[in-house]
Amino acid sequence: MASVETFEILAPGILTTVQDRGRFGYGRYGVPPSGALDSFSLRMGNLLVGNPEDEAALEITLMGPKIKVLTEVVVAITGADLQPCLNDEPMEMWRSYVLKKDDILSFKGIKSGCRSYLAIGGGISIPIVMGSKSTNLPSKFGGFGGRALQKGDILASNSPHLYLTKGGRKLSQEFVPAYGKEWAFRVVFGPQDEQFTEDAKETFISSPYQVTPQADRTGIRLAGPVIERKPEVSESIISEGVVPGAIQVPGDGQPIILLVETVTGGYRKIATVITADLHLLGQLKPGDTLRFKEVSLDEAYKALIESEARIRRFKESLE
């Protein structure tokens, strides 16, 4: 496979990083999964351009980059609508385009959601570190030199010309998620829900919580009614492993939803967001409000099987 230069970054945006579906199997070494926060959008973007669904793409946060196209290439933009433009003309989300040499990709500004994904036919050619191309920003490794993209960076892809026939593909409206400012996340209680008061669990389920500005790829701090732990239990616990979507409650009673840049935590977890809803956490932004809805494990599995079946249906429709 020939690696061909595809993009030159003219302006990087606020935070644009290379992410695939994540780095797994290294948790015992303290290495978190990293990876695209909205894995649904990443997978759909890749499918639209003809890539395997776990290929790396650019994760673009809130404000998009300006990119010069260096060779003919197929791209798709999914996830948050940051109003992408091709040579200043509006582009559609969730469809693939063939871009020409010297085309300029830019983003006018945020319309909905938080993170956009730019998938490229042929993916992103960068070294695989511990089984993944994802950028680990806190520890500065993986991805593009372990950092966010900067002005002047050049990205390359593997044989991008082989993907040009994938231009013009579109995700049918039934699959396209809508991102508002009010969200509902399904959770299963546990593992330490018994250590909160009955009132606290009720408060957690029945109250709106607001996303604070302290929100990044490690976690999202929420603000809302205080969640009280039982009087006999201490503020912290002996550190243990955590998963993305786990909702931990520190001493101040304000919940934090853990995301993908941490493997251990030392606070009690009242509940965990179900796998089928995890990808939507990547579209929360400061100021949004959310509610939690309790479901059973069986309902969680059913939801996951349904969402995977939809992705499979779309995949089959492409063949």
Binding site: Y29, G30, P33, F141
Partner: protein, 218 residues
């Protein structure tokens, strides 16, 4: 935890015995992997098992884990390795050494002597890639965390908090009391395994001079 992870609790306190049980379960799981398990994270007193619910059913998983727990008694668990780690104590490399000495009303030399004495056990790797949580620190050195955590601690910093000692493998924020620095690299993403220490390892610190520190640097 959620619909894709389990926590196997093997005790309720920080102790070498409880931690040994966690290590044993982690090792049998590594040796005899269960289809659908994608990640295990051993910690002080529990083992997090992350699985893909589309590939393995929870009931089947619990059954397999129970079977493995029985197997522990029958297999030989490998001996942990002992790693010697050089440390340059105090000065700019250990900015909290004096504070710790004053807090305990002992000399800086006493702090170093006490910190060097034990053969530590690595209870877990967490917080950042390669960060070893080690115990137990002698009672006389048990120190509170800093009131104001530092925003950037240099890689290699050797620190203490309560009855634990640890080493910051990558530059990161942190709240432990920093008493020295090692020139060794604890985390290297391109090495296999990526960390110098693994859960269960034993660690013996030895003191080095600034000259030796510079010679040790990669």
């Amino acid at each position: 935890m959620g619909d894709g992870a389990l926590i196997a609790e093997l005790g309720d306190k920080i102790s070498p015995e409880v931690n040994q049980r966690v290590r044993e379960l982690a090792l049998v799981l590594e040796e005899d992997p269960i289809e659908g398990v994608v990640e295990i994270v051993p910690t002080y007193r529990s083992l997090l098992i992350i699985y893909d619910p589309l590939r393995v059913h929870l009931t089947a998983l619990l059954h397999r884990i129970e079977g493995l727990r029985k197997k522990i008694a029958r297999i030989k668990i490998p001996e942990p390795k002992t790693v010697e780690i050089p440390v340059l104590y105090g000065g700019e490399y250990g900015p909290d050494l004096e504070w710790v000495a004053q807090y305990h009303k002992i000399t800086a030399q006493d702090v170093i002597r006490l910190h060097l004495a034990p053969l530590y056990q690595v209870y877990m790797i967490g917080f950042t890639p390669g960060f070893p949580y080690m115990g137990e620190l002698p009672e006389q050195l048990a120190s509170p965390r800093r009131k104001n955590p530092r925003t950037l601690i240099p890689a290699g910093s050797v620190a203490i908090a309560q009855r634990q000692t640890g080493i910051y493998p990558v530059a990161s924020p942190g709240g432990w009391q920093i008493i020295g620095r090692t020139p060794l690299k604890l985390f290297n993403p391109t090495r296999s395994p990526p960390t110098l220490l693994e859960m269960g390892d034993r660690v013996k610190f030895f003191s080095i001079t600034e000259e030796e520190f510079k010679r040790w640097l990669p």
